[in-house]
Amino acid sequence: MTPAHMRSDSNSRKTVVNRRSFLTAAGVAGATGLAGCVGGDGNGNGNGNGNGGTTGGNGDDDEITVYTNIPFEDIANAYEEAAGVSVNYNILGGPQPVTRYVAEADQEQYGVDVICNNSGVTWQLHDNDIPGELNVDEDTIESVFSLEGMRDAWEDALGDDVGRRTPPAQLLINGTHYNTDLVSDPPVEYTDFLNEQFENNITTQPYIQDVVLQAMEHYHGTETAEQWLIDYDAQGIDYLAGGGTLIESLLGEENMLAPYTNGFYASEPINNGAPIDVVFPRETYYATQTLTKPVNAPNPEGADDFIEWLLSREGQEVIQTLNGGSLPAHEDLDYGNDQVQQRLDERMEAYPDTPLYPSIQDPDEFWEYANRTEELIDVEIL
């Protein structure tokens, strides 16, 4: 099976209607008439953009192509308005922005200028020297490593140039969501999950447990972390895959708590008045949504310009509004959802000496923790 949490959660799928894609479609549809035989002549993609590839990439200065797994319509529209450059983007589920790029690059088909994917998946690109170095202002790069310890942790694991090759555009903080109709006293430390009231009332993604072990080990040491994981599993966890599935489980009152869930999935229901709230316990970890310019991007200058803009305050303010509110990586910007930001502030005030843990998910560490987790609890991580 596949490395588990590297699959990460899929996010929303939004794409901009652009004239080119419509004309491509209309042109191809109009030309179709081969009645069951293979169509196309090698140029059948109809892009007319001169890259010769088939992946929707381009070589035009006024267009870039992005593979992503987060909502991108607002970002593309804002950039087009700001820079006059059209952003063709394909929102793919989970790790597909990286895996699809890798599969196509293996066949020497290069059509992607920017990959926007979770750090847990993106780190694998470093092993293959795929991220190109960005030609982006140093101050801009500095401004997006906003939480304490994050940059040091990244650089220790992936090298000094990690910020210039895969800078974060968004922070993904996994909080504990709960149904406010069912829980009046939410957990503030991980040991609180072991309370009797939560027995058989917790739902968790199975393949996130290795990162949990990693974070718990960071906070409490190996022995405590391993014992805690065993005790936690003994609570009768309802292991379900998919962050959205967990939030649905809370809304349907099938479970009370959904620890380690990205707030991304709950922002919109919260805004709509759903009985969902989030708490960030003492032992909270986070990952990032990174931006990568592949070394063989067909429009490298366009990629640099776009990434620089998205990391700037203007671009980060768009990130802030995504999906009912999300957390940009810019040091001066808060969570785009007031309620969630308030919970984050409460956690920081309660534990001022315990910074959030920036989980490193590079492949080597992943395998080590995944194997250990599978040995400790009977949960399939891999």
Binding site: D9, Q107, L240, F264, A274
Partner: protein, 564 residues
């Protein structure tokens, strides 16, 4: 006689072989090539590389690790096929063979299920059977939706319209003088049905069972949306995960795709054989053929109608109501709060649909892709049926088998085969474009479309076309003025059915979706992953209404010219 003329005559004398060979070549590119590529790459692909050195390591690894998946796949497919066939046989018999009230309404209710989009259907059943779901409350036992029985239930019910479409014509074509003879000899309705009707229908029932079996073997929706959250994997989900997850494992993906084809192939072969038997049984009545319904007594008539009405209420109408209610809700609401919740129902989600340009683009793209593929599929099915039953081309039996082959390929394996061919082996520029989607849709749709179109073409009398030749009409004119009007009803039916299926097609769309041409089913899938139940419910309602309107419009397309 000149050399040129001699050459022309020689070529003309081999025309049936040449044209037949060309047809086989065209069909092979989208059927046999993906099959062979899948087999070959199972021993040549390694990790991300589609073509590496020869190795059996992929097979050794998969066979060592995935045995449980193979077993689960078989149980899932057999379970779904058994459930669907059982339900379908009962419903088709009651609707087609008896005089129960509302039978036409019941047929339309089941047929309407074809319009329900992917993801929404699964999400609705998850709501109904989750811990606090309406059905869970009614059931005297715990039923976990994220389980193998849950997968079988949802897949089995979803395949019901297809089973009915296969079985209804067969039931209707039974000569009921045989049933009358049984009744005259003292047999009751049940005894007659058991001893006369069902044996006559046996090949048809088997065909429906095998068709659902082979389609369920390759289905991805239910395994992905209901199986995967519960950590239950079948071959299509493993193939999907191997092909998209990090790190990509093309080797094991192609091994699993090969295994899926090997499972499906015997089913395909049996299905093809059984289809031959069904056509024999259809003509059993000869000239004394009678098609009148079984006259049930009043109490049985209404009793049976009530049972069917209740069944459809449970498996179709209630899920649709849940979808409609969900589309009006501000967020997902558990059943026991539906009537006490203070938050009012509203049209917010529908308003959001109006301004969602991503949805509009995906819907338009799917319209273009499905519309093009539908036209090509129906045209291709008529052409191939014509070639098989009415032309003098050589290799007609081979053409018949090859055009049916995609059924055995299954949608997931076919998509993987297309990736292998058009990304790795023959990168002719269609990977990542609309072309590959249309081609895959076409390939996938041809077999079942031919199955519906062929009998209509087969029964046309050659004299009609000979008259056209005598009157000097060109081939195109004969096609337009003789063939199309004669089979226009079939074209309407198959066109509407095919478009409804392709517009919301899932496995091919999600695996082959072009970068700059987003499609509807993957869009809904991503919304589903986000747990946006109100939004996908609203989209579900909109698509259902849209497809119903399109179906009506297609049925109003005149045979040639004229107004709608």
């Amino acid at each position: 006689m000149s050399v040129k003329t001699k050459t022309f005559e020689a070529a003309n004398s081999y025309r049936p072989q040449i044209l037949g060979g060309l047809v086989i070549l065209c069909l092979s590119i989208v059927t046999i090539f993906p099959l062979l590529a899948t087999f070959a790459l199972s021993v040549y692909a390694d990790g991300t590389s589609l073509i590496s050195g020869f190795s059996l390591a992929n097979w050794e690894q998969v066979l060592a690790e995935n045995r449980a998946v193979l077993g689960t796949t078989v149980v899932y497919a057999f379970g779904a096929a058994t459930l669907t066939t059982t339900l379908g046989v009962f419903l088709a018999w009651a609707i087609a063979r008896t005089n129960i009230p509302l039978r036409r309404t019941y047929y339309y209710v089941v047929f309407g299920m074809l319009f329900l989009p992917p993801v929404v259907w699964e999400a609705v059943w998850i709501r109904l059977l989750s811990t606090n779901g309406f059905y869970q409350i009614l059931l005297p036992f715990d039923f976990h939706i994220y389980s193998l029985p849950g997968m079988i239930l949802v897949q089995g019910i979803f395949m019901l319209p297809l089973t009915l479409i296969v079985l209804m014509p067969m039931y209707k074509n039974i000569d009921n003088s045989l049933e009358e003879a049984s009744r005259i000899n003292g047999g009751g309705v049940l005894q007659t049905t058991w001893s006369v009707t069902l044996p006559l229908m046996k090949p048809g029932i088997l065909a429906a069972f095998l068709l659902v079996l082979v389609l369920s073997l390759g289905s991805l929706r239910v395994p992905l949306l209901i199986g995967q959250p519960g950590n239950i994997y079948v071959l299509p989900t493993v193939i999907y995960q191997d092909a998209i997850n990090a790190p990509i494992q093309f080797g094991s993906a192609f091994v699993n795709a090969t295994l899926l084809i090997l499972f499906a192939f015997p089913v395909f072969y049996l299905y093809k054989r059984v289809l031959g038997q069904t056509s024999r049984y259809e003509t059993v009545g000869g000239e004394a053929f009678k098609q009148t319904p079984i006259e049930l007594e009043r109490r049985y008539r209404y009793g049976l109608s009530g049972v069917i009405g209740f069944t459809l209420l449970a498996i179709v109408i209630t899920p649709v109501l849940v979808m409609v209610h969900g589309s009006l809700s501000p967020y997902l609401i558990p059943f026991h709060r539906v009537f006490t919740l203070e938050a009012p129902l509203a049209l917010d989600q529908y308003r959001a649909l109006v301004t969602d340009s991503s949805l509009h683009e995906a819907a338009l793209n799917s319209l273009i892709a499905a519309g093009s593929a539908t036209i090509l599929t129906v045209g291709g099915a008529i052409t191939i049926s014509w070639i098989i039953y009415k032309s003098d081309l050589a290799f007609r039996e081979a053409i018949d088998y090859i055009s049916f082959l995609p059924i055995a390929l299954t949608a997931v394996s076919l998509s993987l085969g297309f990736i292998a061919i058009f990304l790795g082996i023959f990168p002719i520029g269609i990977y990542g474009t609309l072309w590959i989607i249309i081609l895959a849709y076409l390939t996938r749709s041809l077999p079942t479309t031919i199955r519906v179109v062929a009998p209509s073409v087969q029964q046309l009398q050659n004299e009609l076309f000979e008259a056209g030749v005598i009157s000097g009409a060109s081939k195109l004119t004969r096609l337009r003025t003789i063939l199309v009007p004669l089979i226009i009803t079939t074209i309407h039916a198959i066109g509407a059915w095919r478009f409804a299926i392709l517009y919301k097609e899932f496995p091919i769309s999600i695996l082959l979706e072009p970068s700059d041409f987003p499609l509807l089913a993957p869009y809904i899938f991503e919304l589903g992953v986000q747990a946006n139940f109100p939004r996908i419910s609203a989209i579900g309602v909109a698509i259902t209404v849209f497809l119903a309107i399109v179906t009506v419009l297609i049925h109003r397309i005149p045979a040639s010219g004229g107004k709608l």
